[in-house]
Assembly symmetry: C2
């Protein structure tokens, strides 16, 4: 089997597979790239995970994820900053262990409003503060922090960063190789400004990852689990993918699906269906010449 | 009993009350203003509804609602435009029948993507086209069309207008007394640009209605029914209300709650609780001097 040379599967799509099983499923299905999650790596231990990842021959597209730094100064905030430091280190190690073309990109989810707070502006300011604290460490480690704007329905409990414009404004004080953005179709498809902001992200050199999955309604009762295979919803993958291409992004394209039905399906089937849906809905809009170095 | 002089309850909050019962509940609870819905009026008939509304002594804050004109040209679109024409006429009649200070404001919900379509930009263009067709009729009738940006979680199936900036851009070609915007905290609270866009709306004279209710998670399984009494969630009513005041808005402030638990509660209790939550969470941020003419 083979998959599109730029396709990466985020292992959150096969959440119940362990670390080794995830890699095996992807290799068997012909993938060349993977987006990893920190939790399965913690179960294996970083050194062992890095070794086994190296042996898989896969590239790293991103490491998911850290962030969650909207709380006021205090022990919880210090613990979060420390956790982000560890995540930066892990990103560097794993990217070094991956195949040629691996990207040292750590995806950051901002975090929601602290319990009982209505101070959205303050929470956002504290995201900016955290980036200021972490950017020098990311830079020293050769890691790009990718701020991921999440759909506004998650603004209160998961991410106070909701639009690409906002993510780019947060990234602006830093070098683009140190702080970039994640462009995820599920989160951004609705935004009237998404196309000009993708173009801006390209001009500023800040597209650290492009992630694709589809939106459709009714939303799942747990709105976190409403993501669908590309082509099964209303997202305009032609327009968005062409915009990301025109912005100069030549990296892997990650499919990340949180969906209880998909999680309950056989992993090999999910890998095959992800690859097929990507081939049909996304790949036709990628420039053939832009495959990453292999 | 009395309620804040600028408080209006949208009768969608007591959805299962009939037309007469809605008016009675509000008068008994000391309200001076109401936001009406078209469906209960259709049950009674416009002439009878206007007469009974006049007899209630209440002001009209808005009529909800029409719009739903994202479809391509054809019979369905013509039917929608005709329905909007009728809604404009109803708005004029009801505002004329209401107490002094009534506002002839028709709330417009854009509509979602047509079935099977991923062409969000095309759907938005057709909203602009519909406004162009309806604005002269609204102007002739002395009615303000209030474009309501809805939360982006409704972008696919209910409203392709998601931000205040977008609503203001759509309104820009028209006179502000003909096409304005609805500022609803539930839909807009998350937007990083909401404060400057409220200021812009004020400068452009386009705030046709200010609606308040709260956001909290987890969202209801039917995300349409996730609205909460002011103060029971995370919305910053102080900041948003101060911004609307600073923008020069002096009209009624409407509470509109779609929530299955609230719909199942006794109507008088809902009216009292709406008034109390408004008094606690919203009223302190309204300038006392700005009550509408009575």
């Amino acid at each position: 089997m083979s998959a599109h040379p730029r396709l990466s599967m985020n292992v959150g799509t096969i959440k119940h597979a362990g670390f080794d099983e995830s890699l095996r499923v992807l290799v068997d299905a012909g993938y060349r790239s993977v987006g990893l999650w920190r939790e399965p790596i913690a179960e294996v231990g970083l050194a062992a995970a890095a070794r086994r990842f190296h042996d898989s021959g896969l590239r790293l597209s991103t490491l998911c994820r850290q962030g969650f730094f909207t709380m006021a100064e205090g022990p919880a905030r210090r613990a979060s900053i420390d956790e982000n430091r560890r995540a930066i280190e892990e990103t560097a190690v794993l990217a070094e262990s991956g195949a040629v073309g691996s990207r040292a990109v750590l995806v950051l989810v901002a975090g929601g409003l602290p319990e009982g707070s209505t101070d959205l502006i303050g929470a956002r300011d504290r995201v900016a503060d955290a980036l200021g604290e972490l950017a020098p460490e990311a830079s020293a480690a050769g890691v790009t922090l990718a701020i991921e704007p999440l759909h506004p329905m998650y603004a209160s409990d998961r991410a106070v960063v909701s639009t690409l414009r906002q993510a780019l404004d947060l990234a602006a004080p830093f070098a683009p190789q140190t702080v970039g953005v994640a462009v995820d179709t599920f989160h951004l498809w609705w935004d009237p400004e998404v196309l000009p902001q993708i173009a801006r992200a390209g001009r500023e050199g800040r597209i650290a990852t492009y992630q694709v999955c589809d939106w459709r309604t009714p939303l799942a009762a747990d709105v976190l689990l409403s993501r669908h295979y590309p082509g099964e919803g209303v997202v305009d993958f032609a327009g968005l993918t062409a915009a990301v291409e025109a912005a100069g992004y030549t990296g892997d394209v990650e499919v990340e699906l949180f969906n209880a039905d998909i999680w309950a399906s056989p992993h090999a089937e999910v890998a095959a269906r992800t690859s097929a849906s990507f081939a049909a809905a996304v790949a036709p809009h990628l420039a053939a010449a832009a495959a990453p170095a292999a």
